[in-house]
Point group: C2
Chain length 365, copies 2
């Protein structure tokens, strides 16, 4: 398997805390419903899973935002719940609603029966990774991803999203921590195998989305989220099939209070949401990790000039970029959460232009 050499390696360099001529930028959920061309492909696919499981469609939608915007990375189009689905929990998406799992883990027998899935069940994901990597022709690097063991467990116990602060999963956590730990241990093995297979298939960086880590109590976060993310990282390959280092990104939404604990993770980049000051985060972790984030996605509802002003504020908050040789504190611009389906695409243009031009100016200054 030989892929084209990279034309734009700013994202990978920034992940590894190397200097870049400007701050690289990508957007969580950049291939999504705010793009009319995405909606058109999704309509042809018939359903979300029809889209995600079809290699050609997944490739097509992954590349769509890159054709519109000068983004510095691509991210695999998929869903974090492919893993529970492969475990036999039965994933579906009803129109206008969130994900549903038909067979959530509601009792001890279901937890005992849980197994790391056969990776053949997830072949469509790895095939999509390879197909996308080829289609990219080296334009920008491709990011693979997974949900964190804890975040997957939230959906696996609850059977979907939660409108009451994850009552089901937290009931299990506080009543039967032994069952919770068993789920998390299986998930950690599954996530590591899943990400390693994405790396083998051509993913050039991997990201762990701990979307619901921030729902945990201070005393519960290390035990039920962080330790299992650490266990995933310990099992991950360092290099891709081409020998290149594969940077690891960990993002705990709502985890700003725990950055000092997260700083000890064996990863290269920490993602932060919009409640965090990048200047403070840099002071805490800047010497050992790159930071990714953290514009409030709601900024993109505002007029273009306000978008540009807020983007500059995020860059200025991070502060003077690392320049020259060796490694130093670096920033990867992103939103603090996935882009909203209600975002006007032309506002994304304003964002990309502001980030690239202002961050280049910061280096010239």
């Amino acid at each position: 398997m030989a892929f084209s050499p990279l034309t734009n390696d700013t994202f990978l360099r920034a992940c590894l805390r190397q200097a870049t001529p400007y701050t690289p930028l990508w957007l969580m959920r950049q291939a999504g419903r705010y793009l009319p061309e995405y909606k058109a492909t999704r309509a042809r696919a018939g359903s979300f899973m029809g889209l995600a499981t079809n290699v050609q469609y997944a490739t097509e939608v992954t590349l769509q935002p890159l054709d519109r915007f000068a983004l510095d990375a691509a991210i695999l189009f998929s869903d974090i719940l492919t893993v529970p689905d492969a475990m036999g929990l039965g994933l579906s998406f009803a129109e206008g609603e969130g994900p549903k799992l038909a067979r959530p883990l509601r009792d001890e027998a279901a937890v005992a029966a849980l197994r790391v899935p056969d990776l053949d069940q997830l072949r469509y994901v790895f095939d999509a990774v390879t197909s996308i990597r080829r289609a990219l022709q080296g334009r920008v690097p491709l990011i693979g991803f997974s949900g964190s063991p804890w975040t997957l467990a939230c959906y696996m116990v609850e059977g979907g999203g939660s409108r009451d602060d994850w009552r089901g999963v937290k009931s299990m956590l506080y009543s039967r921590p032994d069952l919770m730990h068993r789920i998390l241990a299986v998930n950690a093995d599954a996530v590591a195998a899943y990400l390693n297979a994405q790396i083998d298939a051509g993913a050039q960086a991997v990201m762990v989305f701990d979307s619901w880590g921030g729902a945990l109590a201070d005393r519960a976060f290390p035990e039920f989220s962080l330790d299992y993310t650490a266990s995933v990282l310990a099992k991950l390959k360092r290099n891709g099939p081409d020998g290149q280092v594969v940077p690891r990104i960990v993002f705990t939404k709502g985890g700003g209070l725990w950055l000092q604990q997260m700083e000890r993770l064996d990863c290269d980049v920490l993602g932060v949401d919009w409640t965090v000051s990048l200047a403070k985060a840099r002071a805490l972790v800047g010497s050992s990790k790159a930071l990714q984030g953290n514009l409030d996605p709601a900024v993109l509802f505002a007029p273009a000039e306000n978008v540009a002003a807020e983007a500059r504020r995020v860059l200025d908050d991070f502060g003077a970029p690392h320049q020259g040789s060796g490694s130093g504190p670096t920033h990867i611009f992103n939103l603090g959460h996935g882009i909203s389906q209600f975002t006007p695409p032309e506002h994304v243009h304003a964002l990309v232009e502001a980030v690239h031009s202002h961050s280049a100016r910061m280096r010239a200054a």
Copy 2:
């Protein structure tokens, strides 16, 4: 107006950072749907607003949890949206859904027309305060409350709760900050007048619920939430009609990252949610503020012995209580958010018993 002297002043003493023989405890939303007697009164009242606007019903439900549990404070039974309702926005509660405002602030004209409400519109609240204070006969102190200017604005612009990260109110914030500031300035005046009238009616402490402050970006929080809470505090009376100091509590859910900024507020107590370490919070603000919180409400779904163990962990996390004369770091035990309607009442018994006995033992040690 002469009220009975207080039998149990542990809560007020702890608010003012004075030593108490044990850690006082109350629960946000302690009068609520998890209690069958509450449901019975609500059924008689016909609707939530029928309950909240009737002085006798409001008094009855406020006292219900005190008859069951050895709680150290009562809190006025009401809703934060009484203020927008009095402003003419038209509050209603549909069964099984959240609050709705019939006339949200959707355009410049609506914002321009917004006024501090005539406090006569809220007479039912102040009458309830006086009635509850009398009915308490000095058993425990009565807490009055209001939503923060920002939190009220969230509902006033959105027209209710939000399932998409407060898209409406954040669009206004980033697109038309001038309109947002006008709403917040009116709200700050209204909230101050509302709380002062509660103090005049007999409230012995007041709490500002900034329930949605944590939805704001780091750069937006001081400008759109904190500054207006500070403006409310600056206008509040220091003393009740009996001459007693009226402590002020400020709780920003999700505001753990901003405790150092909140430490500068002119209030006595800072509430914190379950994502915060009380030990770290104490290190940050312990010398100037009491701390209130922060058990994860989901703990109460677990068996009684687990509830007791988690309660002890919260107390131990805060650490050695202040003893002797003078002022020092104090802790008021609470949940990190309102108690869930699905809580078994007998688990609250286990919680109260564990908090009182363990915290008394910590003082004897």
